[in-house]
């Protein structure tokens, strides 16, 4: 049961992360103004996923957490994705 030594993340790091997130946000708004059909939605969701990953890793410090916690977080998203996919086995093939 090791205690992780508190490493202090600098303010600048957070500013850089926010800048990235804001750029991603404006990118997703710009991209979705073009009509690429269903690809538009996919792209918007991919960008959202990138933002979520960045927030998890840097704002929420998941990057410096234990492997166990990282696996749990991935597991939660995986489980949710599977539930949606399995539900769609019904809806897509009725």
């Amino acid at each position: 049961m090791n205690e992780t030594s508190p490493h202090i993340t600098g303010y600048i790091t957070y500013v850089i992360v926010l800048t990235f997130l804001l750029v991603m946000t404006f990118l997703s708004v710009a991209v979705t103004s073009y009509h690429l059909g269903s690809f538009t939605v996919a792209l918007a969701l991919i960008i959202a996923s990138i933002k979520v990953t960045v927030v998890l890793n840097y704002f929420m410090h998941l990057k410096s957490e234990s492997l166990f916690l990282k696996l749990c977080v991935s597991g939660v998203f995986l489980l949710f994705a599977l539930v949606i996919i399995i539900t769609f086995i019904d809806y897509l093939y009725r």
């Binding site: 049961m1 205690e3 992780t4 508190p6 202090i8 993340t9 600098g10 303010y11 957070y14 500013v15 992360v17 926010l18 997130l21 804001l22 946000t25 404006f26 997703s28 708004v29 979705t32 103004s33 269903s38 538009t40 939605v41 918007a44 969701l45 960008i47 959202a48 933002k51 979520v52 927030v55 998890l56 840097y58 704002f59 929420m60 916690l69 749990c72 977080v73 939660v76 949710f80 539930v83 949606i84 539900t87 769609f88 809806y91 897509l92």
Partner: protein
């Protein structure tokens, strides 16, 4: 013989507190997950209607709200750094900024919803009842998802307000800041949910 102290010792296990908070965040993710599932199903069944309905939403306000929340995530993360560096006044300013940004988010939401109510766009109204079915469902999802999210924003703000007080009274310090860490985690979750809500509700035009 008889002992007078509680069974658990006063020393708090920070790792335990943090793990507990993360697991609670998982439950919140699944709570919203149910709504995302409903969204996914109806979006696939009514893609055209969802496009039309999303058009009615104000993308500018949505983007502004996204900017507010993302920035507030940064400020609350920074506040932990400030506490760790014993920069108490900086920490207070940062938590306060987070609260202000959160309030701006809610003010925006209030105006959005008021505007929609003014045009009788809410679940159960006659206007909505006469809309194409997919649009009706989109509106229901919109209100339920942003409503539940706003409720969590309020809860997060209460937690941060408590932290503000405790920083001021030195109960949160560089030696002991588990409460701030956990409140920040909760706040980031509120941000995470919005990061998915925003494109799904506002950008699928």
């Amino acid at each position: 013989m008889t002992t007078n102290h509680p069974v658990y010792t006063e020393h708090t296990d920070k790792e335990a507190g943090k793990l507990g908070m993360w697991i609670f965040l998982f439950t919140e993710m699944f709570l919203f997950g149910g709504l995302f599932l409903v969204y996914a199903v109806f979006r696939s069944l009514y893609s055209e209607d969802f496009h039309h309905a999303a058009d009615e939403l104000n993308t500018f306000i949505g983007t502004l709200n996204t900017v507010f929340l993302l920035t507030s995530s940064m400020t609350v993360a920074m506040s932990i750094t400030a506490v760790q560096k014993k920069e108490r006044s900086v920490a207070l300013i940062l938590v306060l900024t987070t609260l202000i940004l959160a309030s701006l988010f809610l003010v925006n939401k209030y105006y959005e919803w008021s505007h929609e109510f003014h045009y009788k766009i809410y679940p159960g109204s006659d206007v909505v009842r006469n809309m194409p079915r997919g649009e009706l469902l989109f509106i229901g999802l919109y209100f339920m998802m942003t409503g539940l999210h706003a409720l969590h924003v309020i809860i997060g703000m209460i937690l941060l307000l408590i932290c503000l007080v405790k920083i001021k009274t030195h109960q949160i310090s560089d030696e002991s800041h588990l409460l701030l860490d956990n409140a920040a985690l909760y706040w980031h979750l509120v941000d995470l949910i919005w990061i998915f809500l925003f494109p799904l509700l506002y950008l699928i035009t």
